[in-house]
């Protein structure tokens, strides 16, 4: 993180960059949207043909591709929309209900 915003809650106008400019491009990567989802994608790596269709159609840039292969889903950001499962030509992605870990609910 180039721009330290951990204390931003107590900044006065003197500490904010001028004109509401955000000096660190792409820093929304530090903002978790994974908590939005109620189901998450699970990929069967054996049946996956690495066609990369899920990667090109993911709205949240949450299909992690390394060396031309899907390796994981970015669960910090995946919103569970289910498009990856829908576009997969071999249907190797299942959307499974996101378990609820809160003790009050269990």
């Amino acid at each position: 993180m180039k721009w330290d915003i951990s204390e931003m809650g107590s900044w006065t106008n003197k500490q904010f960059p001028r004109g509401a400019c955000i000096p660190e491009a792409g820093n929304s990567a530090y903002y978790a949207t994974g908590g939005w989802r109620s189901e998450r994608p699970v990929r069967d790596a054996e049946r996956c043909t690495q066609c990369l269709m899920c990667w090109i159609d993911c709205p949240d840039s949450s299909v992690v591709v390394v060396d031309e292969k899907v390796v994981a889903f970015d669960l910090e950001h995946c919103k569970g929309c289910g498009i990856c499962a829908q576009v997969c030509p071999v249907k190797c992605i299942d959307m499974v209900p996101e378990g609820c870990e809160l003790t009050e609910v269990k």
Binding site: W3, I5, M8, A20, I22, E24, A25, G26, N27, S28, A29, Y30, Y31, A32, T33, W36, R37, C51, L52, M53, W55, I56, D57, C58, P59, D60, S61, S62, V65, E68, D74, E76, H77, K79, G80, C81, G82, I83, A85, Q86, V87, M95
Partner: protein, 310 residues
């Protein structure tokens, strides 16, 4: 024209952590456009709307590149100013003469077909070396699904309601892509998130051409269209397969269909899965449905007639 494996090496310039809805077609459109744009640095401008609001909530930016938002109707004018600065600073030697940079303005159909039309037209007419990308989700989605001139005839919208006196939007859609073709700019194209190969190669062309280019990208909105979030790509595919959203390009004035559809599916297959069209299938609306189908048929025939035969 890169394949997916080649594209996967490129930097995804839209970061995760944006606040667009799950399944948003606009984010898919942006990712595919910017992946197709190549490797040169890009300055992105965006009109007020879903895309802008969700990707630049202070202090977070989802743009892994320079970004500017100004107002609703002027992303084209704003980016034309950025491009002008680039030309001037090169001319005076503050930027090396061989430096390459690309300039792209995004806008929804609201900020493009309606309030932004003048600014878009002016920027294109002036010949700036920039790309304008419209993500067409068929209504003013960010403010609550109000109708735009891109909303299909018969669609429900919050300002084109359904009831005994009216069955959704009364007017036909405006054909913005053809309006832009009439500006005689080097490159104009209509694309869809359902056809990544077509879209990314059109983006590549748009960004490599010298002068103004315009892309109109079909970008479904699960929220506004009343479809499950997983169906955005599928419904866009049906739009193409029914002829509702033909995929074509206009390169130096020559029209060319880029994805052939030999036997168009009945428009119903595109309309029925969407909640915003459900009233069209109630008894009494048969004539309206037929009218909408024949509008699509006519537009299709007209367009095919203009396209070069190869």
């Amino acid at each position: 024209m890169a394949n997916l494996k080649e594209l996967s090496h490129r930097d995804d310039r839209l970061a995760g952590g944006h606040r667009l809805c799950a399944g948003c077609g606009a984010s898919i459109a942006v990712r595919q456009v910017l992946l197709g744009a190549g490797l040169e640095p890009v300055v992105v401008g965006c009109a007020t709307g879903c895309l802008e609001v969700s990707t630049s909530i202070y202090p977070y930016s989802s743009w892994k590149t320079s970004f500017i938002h100004n107002a609703f109707e002027n992303s084209a004018a704003t980016v034309s100013g950025v491009e002008a600065a680039f030309q001037a600073l090169k001319r005076v030697g503050k930027i090396p003469a061989d430096k390459k940079m690309k300039f792209v303005a995004f806008g929804g159909d609201g900020g493009t077909y309606d309030i932004g039309l003048q600014s878009l037209s002016g920027a294109m007419e002036r010949g700036h070396d920039m790309v304008y990308v419209c993500y067409d989700n068929g209504a003013y989605m960010n403010t609550g699904i109000q109708r735009s001139s891109a909303t299909p005839k018969g669609a429900w919208a919050t300002t084109a309601e359904v009831g005994p006196a009216q069955q959704g939007k009364i007017q036909r859609r405006k054909d913005l892509t053809q309006i832009m073709a009439a500006h005689n700019i080097p490159y104009v194209a209509q694309a869809s998130i359902s056809h990544w190969k077509d879209l990314t190669s059109k983006a590549e062309k748009a960004f490599s051409v010298e002068g103004p280019a315009f892309l109109n990208v079909f970008a479904p909105c699960p929220r506004g269209w009343r479809i499950p979030s997983s169906q955005s790509v599928e419904i866009a595919k049906l739009a193409v397969q029914t002829g509702f959203w033909p995929l074509y390009e206009v390169e130096d004035g020559v029209f060319r269909q880029t994805v052939r559809v030999a036997n168009r599916k009945p428009l119903e297959e595109f309309l029925k899965p969407q909640g915003r069209f459900k009233h069209l299938f109630t008894p009494g609306n048969e004539a309206l449905l037929a009218e909408i189908q024949s509008d699509v048929d006519k537009a299709w025939d007209d367009l095919i007639g203009r396209c070069a035969t190869e």
